[in-house]
Symmetry: C5
């Protein structure tokens, strides 16, 4: 198995390192890396990782600023990532952190680390098959913060 | 007939169970399951259910948070589901619940259950042909809450 | 000539009836019908009417609620309809009514009827060729309400 | 060379006339016309002008109302026009006028005329090659109103 | 190597000049130029630069006005640029400047210059391979203004 890890120079946290470490600590998967300027450059990078480097799944890591235009750009990147997945039939786990998710830089750092690590584990689970995550269906799992858990009936 | 049921670990209600039970109680259709982390992972999962598992229709179940960014993500997932349908000529019934649809967790639970069950029945109806729902055309049917009914002329 | 008529069980007015009656009263065109749960199910239905039923044009009728999320869903449906048209080189006339277009149910009913009827006539005109509507170019025509007419130079 | 001119019956100004007159006064290009109900019908019309009528470029003229839903519809039409250009490798010059661009009908009329005429000239320039507009690069040219001109360093 | 430089007559700064000068001062890459009226004309121009002129990467330079409709148009252009990248597997570096990014024309000029130059260097880096920017991953690099730098753990 080969996992693509695509990240940006725009981000203020080296999120790829957390993803790579988690993959290495939990699998023997090969890793292909691609670093681009910003998250709008990620979709074609992910497509190239899948098509040129034969990655089976990709983790796309990016960080968004606080302004409305940043949300718009995140949307454009996310739409691109949707398209790549449908063109290749491969999952791309979008690991985006928004600077307005927290009030301090330390919190942003922790969100970025937690989200990257948990989605790296999600990538490994998805590689095992369509039902490997079924035991957690509807369990209110979160990446970047604590799980919310299921609503009691 | 084979029905795909795609759901998420993000959701706080096990909506797939309601859909699966309804399908089993009302048909002999086979079911293929796919669980992914969040609803933005659903489009490619649905495409794989259709193309790899030969599903004739898919029910895509997810839950969205309350923040503006959650609406944006729901939009991205929904656009992906549109694209998959047009790439495969198969229906995907989008069963999304928004956490701001109700004030209590109990209400959210009931909306999720009602919406999943009713759309499972819609899926069975659509499998019967293009006019099987025609008798309900313009009747103000709702999923997740009570029907509004038709406007009197 | 064959005209597809796609509508929903969500709508609170049987808009398809107005479209079908108008087509029958003004042409010998064949009609193929497809009823789906909501307007987000319309794009793939329209594509199937064009590809499976060989329709030359489709009228897609739907109704949208009053909340922001309803506008977002209408946008998703509309984007899907755009894609189908470009994939098939066939027109799809989008006949959507928004519940906030009027204050009373009676007005909504009248808008729905007027819009469905006028767009059925537009469909017949478009089937006659690229310039059959040219005499009305820039004339401020409206569906669902009275024409606004051209601006005087 | 053949230029497509697509317009609508919704618009309140016969913008196509201005475009056609400008083309005729400045070139020997052939013109193919297509009139549709509203601007959301323009993308497939433009695609048909390119594919069926072999147009080398298309001018798409439309007018948008003042409400938020009108902006949303303009966005849908614009996204469709983007898709057609990428499917055909032909330019489509979008000449849309928004009713909230001016306070009087007379101003709207003048904007529509000026924008249609200037974009007709742009179409002729683009047909001459990739660098025919390079001398105006960064010059703050506007259609529908006066040029803003370049910012002084 | 060949680099496409696509720009507009709408912009009020000749951003292409900064990009071209930076490329020439730092490489022997060939340059193909394409100037269009506005940034919504850029996507098809970039696609033609890649497909007709065999460019390996494209820099797309544009400027957006201050009104909400301008943001919407920027979004449409950006979505088009995403699509082109996925259709061609080539990067397109989007170098857009928004007129509301600064209060004075001088600042806008400096942002435009800085952003164009830095993205020209990014283009050269991306041409060297998938990991040539990896040393800057998560370093908070910015184009158009000073780098923000990484968040300290």
């Amino acid at each position: 198995m080969k996992i693509g890890v695509a990240d940006t120079t725009f981000a203020r946290v080296d999120m790829a390192r957390f993803a790579v470490d988690t993959i290495k600590n939990n699998s023997n998967a090969k890793i292909a890396r691609y670093t681009v300027p910003g998250f709008k450059d990620l979709p074609v990078a992910c497509k190239k990782l899948i098509e040129e480097d034969k990655c089976d799944i990709v983790i796309a890591l990016g960080m968004a600023g606080q302004k409305p235009i940043d949300k718009q750009c995140a949307h454009e990147a996310a739409m691109g990532l949707q398209a790549v997945q449908l063109m290749t039939n491969k999952h791309i786990l979008e690991v985006f952190v928004h600077m307005d998710e927290a009030k301090t830089e330390k919190e942003i750092y922790n969100i970025a680390k937690n989200r990257a690590e948990k989605h790296a584990l999600n990538a490994l689970a998805l590689l095992k098959g369509k039902t490997s995550l079924a035991k957690y269906a509807g369990m209110g799992r979160r990446q970047g913060k604590q799980d919310e858990g299921p609503i009691k009936a």
